[in-house]
């Protein structure tokens, strides 16, 4: 008898949970069909505005990139990086992958891509602002700064361009930091962003799902450390070739 009661209780409880979960899903579905939830816009805008207002910062990141083989099999590659930025026209990005160490330096006049291990570098004159330089690197040289959207001063417009749906998924913890978790849909990609709660609404994680490829591969970047008061020196944004380094060309796109 007692055990029967327990069973009934358990059944009732699990029903409650199921209903709660369904209600959440229904709410999410409703929010989706309603386009972009105002709260999602608001949280994202607060974050992009905050980052745009930071004149100098560094971000240590961990990236994963999935590729899809002809067979459909997905393979994930990992790298870590540090991005140092000083608005309006200085950037240094260092990346350490499985095989290659690479340094990208923009000093406001030229950009340099260097593989120190192989002692080679290429250098080319570049536009005078961070935003124009990123455009130039991407359209002329085919160099994509992963998650580079976030660096632009008008990051919000760039991210939201073409977005059809957006919701606040809920709360989440990324690298030990309490965040708001947002999810957006655009014609050929879905993306999710986790934004730190509190006075400094920094992006903590970004996941991009490419929908128009088989098996929808993902790119993810997690910021393991933000520093909004970094110390830069003369060398940070200046490229000096190491002894014996050879200069090579960029192939035009």
């Amino acid at each position: 008898m007692k055990s029967t009661v327990h069973r009934h209780l358990l059944a009732a409880l699990s029903q409650c949970f199921a209903i709660a979960a369904l209600t959440t899903l229904a709410a999410a579905a409703h929010a989706q069909s309603a386009g972009v939830a105002p709260e999602a816009k608001q949280i994202l805008k607060a974050s992009t505005d905050f980052l745009a207002s930071q004149q100098r910062f560094t971000a240590d990141t961990r990236n994963t990139l999935e590729i899809v083989l002809k067979t459909g099999q997905k393979i994930e590659f990992n790298s870590t990086g540090r991005q140092s930025i000083q608005r309006p026209n200085k950037l240094r990005a260092e990346r350490t992958g499985d095989l290659v160490d690479q340094v990208f330096i923009y000093d406001g006049k030229s950009l340099t891509l260097s593989n120190p291990q192989e002692k080679i570098y290429a250098q080319v004159a570049a536009p005078g602002t961070l935003e124009d330089m990123l455009d130039f690197a991407r359209t002329k040289l085919d160099i994509v700064a992963p998650a580079g959207d976030l660096v632009y001063k008008n990051a919000y417009e760039i991210l939201m361009d073409g977005v059809t749906e957006g919701i606040v998924v809920g709360k989440a913890v990324i690298e030990g930091v309490l965040c708001d978790h947002l999810a957006f849909r655009a014609p050929q990609l879905d993306w999710q962003i986790w934004i730190q709660q509190g006075a400094q609404p920094l992006p903590r994680k970004l996941v991009i799902t490419t929908l128009d490829l088989p098996n929808a591969p993902q790119f993810a970047i997690t910021v393991t450390k933000w520093n909004l008061q970094p110390t830069f020196d003369a060398k940070t944004f200046t490229f000096t070739p190491q002894a014996g380094a050879k200069q090579i060309d960029f192939l035009p796109r």
Binding site: E66, S79, E118, I120, T139, I143, A186, L189
Partner: protein, 166 residues
């Protein structure tokens, strides 16, 4: 550059923008024949160049043909020649290099022509790794890699270090 052992040669027929990022290992399995990678940016800058979210979301596709070290020259040749048309079309880019580069490579080609081995990879083909046994060689102040009589010139294609067949 020559000190880096290259176990395998990958012949690229299409721009391979983020091979570095992807970090496809020279020891990667032979099944790495056609590779597509996830996008790493959400949007493009709202410049006149980008047709509002259409052009920017063009998927990057990557073709990688694999060959083992022992068959490096033969296989590279075969694949490179099959794909030469594509490679040359798409790296009309590669051929539209700066005037100096073209002059230099023209010189190099002339010089190489005499000794160019039969079945050498197509001129203008872009490879991610060199065949085994290359030696640096400077001509007209430009450094090339001489791999069994075929000259390769290092360049960055996007983030990737590649070699252009001269």
């Amino acid at each position: 550059m020559t000190s880096i052992p290259r176990a395998k040669a990958f012949v690229l027929t299409i721009a391979l923008p983020l091979l570095y990022l992807a970090g496809v290992s020279p020891d990667a399995p032979a099944s790495l024949t056609l590779v597509s990678e996830a996008r790493a940016v959400v949007g493009a800058p709202l410049t006149p160049v980008s047709a509002a979210g259409v052009a920017r979301r063009t998927t990057r596709r990557v073709v990688v043909a694999e060959s083992s070290a022992t068959q490096a020259s033969a296989a590279t040749t075969a694949t490179a020649q099959q794909q030469a048309a594509t490679a040359q079309q798409q790296s009309a880019t590669a051929q539209q290099q700066s005037a100096t580069a073209q002059q230099q490579s023209a010189t190099a080609q002339q010089q190489a022509a005499a000794t160019r081995p039969a079945g050498a990879p197509a001129v203008g083909a872009v490879v991610a790794t060199l065949p085994a046994g290359c030696k640096p060689e400077t001509r007209s102040g430009v450094e090339y890699q001489n791999c069994g009589g075929v000259l390769y010139r290092a360049a960055f294609q996007g983030n990737n270090l590649v070699y252009v067949v001269q």
